[in-house]
Symmetry: C2
Subunit: 197 residues, 2 copies
C-alpha cells in the first residue's frame, strides 16, 4: 500500500475503526505523519495511557480509568436517582446534555431472544442489588425506543415493581424536528402525550 511495513500496519489498524474505510485510513495516516508533533505523538501517548488504564466501572459499567468510576465516587451524585442506559455511549450523551445529576447503570445491551441475551448476560442482577443497597428512590429507564429496548424496560419495571419510583424519558417530537420527517410511532406518541398550552 505505502512502501513501508509499519505504515501499512498502521493503515490496516486504522481501517478497522468504525467510520473509517481503507481510503480514509490512508488519508488519516498521512495527516498524522504530517502533524507529528501536534497530533501523531500526542495521539500515540494518549492511546498508550488509555490502553493501560481504561476499564469498566465495577459498580455501574461506565468506562473510566479506575475500578469505580468518577460518577460513582462523586458524593454529590448520590441523589437517589439512577438512570438506566443500554450503552456507555448513551451515558455520555446524557452527560453532554447536563440535565441529569444522579448516577447511572449501564446494562451493556438489551434482552434479545434472537441473540440469546437474557438478564444474566446484562447488568440486570447488579441493577436489582444496587436499587436495594444504594438508597435509590427513582429508576429512570432511559432505554432506546426500539422493540428490544422497550422489552428490556418492561422486564426491569416488572422486577423492580413496588420497590422504587419508575420513570422513563418522555417521547415526542425532537426539538427542531419536522413532522414530515418523523415516523408514525413518534407522531402517535407525541399526540397521545399532548399537553395543554
Amino acid at each position: 500500500m505505502s512502501s513501508t511495513k509499519d505504515i501499512d500496519d498502521l493503515i490496516e489498524l486504522m481501517a478497522k475503526l468504525p467510520g473509517l474505510g481503507p481510503r480514509s485510513a490512508r488519508r488519516a495516516v498521512l495527516h498524522l505523519i504530517r502533524k507529528r508533533a501536534l497530533l501523531l505523538t500526542p495521539l500515540a501517548d494518549c492511546l498508550q495511557i488509555v490502553a493501560e488504564t481504561a476499564r469498566e466501572c465495577l459498580n455501574c459499567g461506565n468506562v473510566g480509568t479506575t475500578d469505580i468510576c468518577d460518577i460513582c465516587t462523586a458524593e454529590k451524585r448520590a441523589t437517589g436517582e439512577l438512570c438506566v442506559v443500554e450503552d456507555v455511549a448513551d451515558l455520555w450523551a446524557m452527560e453532554r446534555s447536563g440535565v441529569f445529576k444522579g448516577r447511572y447503570h449501564v446494562l451493556g445491551g438489551t434482552l434479545s431472544a434472537l441473540d440469546a441475551i437474557g438478564p444474566e448476560q446484562l447488568r440486570i442482577p447488579r441493577l436489582i442489588d444496587r436499587v436495594a443497597s444504594e438508597g435509590i428512590t427513582e429508576v429512570i429507564l432511559a432505554l432506546n425506543a426500539t422493540i428490544d429496548g422497550q422489552t428490556t424496560a418492561h422486564y426491569i419495571a416488572d422486577e423492580l415493581d413496588g420497590q422504587v419510583r419508575l420513570t422513563s424519558l418522555a417521547q415526542g417530537v425532537p426539538i427542531g424536528g419536522e413532522l414530515d420527517y418523523l415516523d408514525d410511532g413518534t407522531i402517535m406518541a407525541a399526540m397521545t402525550a399532548r399537553k395543554d398550552l
Copy 2:
C-alpha cells in the same frame, strides 16, 4: 464528554483526524476500549513506532521509516523512469495499481500564484537535479487533472524540455465510468484521444 480526562483527551485527538467528527470519534474510542487486546494495544504500539520513525525520503519525498525510502534504495526500480506526483497519497495509489516499476518524485503540492507556492516551495529544483544525475530517460507527469496540476506539469515540461522524454497519463473515460456521470472536460478529452478499434 465521558467522565474521564484521559478518555476525553483521546476523543478530542481522534476527532481531529480527517473523516472523523466528534460523534464518530466517540464511537471509535468506545470501539477501541472494547477491543483492547485486538485493536487498542496494537494501534497504540504501532502509532508509537510510526511517531518515532516516520520521515520523508530525502531523495523523493515519499514517506517511510528510513532517510532514503525503500523504493529509492531498490536497485530493480532504477529503470530510468521517474513518475512525478503531487502527493504521497498519489504515490500510494500508483503503487496499489502495480503498473509502474520505476521510481517516484513527490512534489509536495502544485504551483499556485494564489497561495504563493513557487518552484522553490515544491521539490522542483530537486527533480531537475535528479533527472540530470540519476540516468533518467523518461519523466511521467502524473499530476492531477486540475488547473493547478496542469500548470505545474507545463512548468516542469518547460524546465526539462530537450533533456528527457516527457509523458503524461492518458485522459479518458474511467473503467466502469458512465458517460452520464462524467464532466464535459473528460468526455472532450476522451473524444479527442479516441482510438481505432
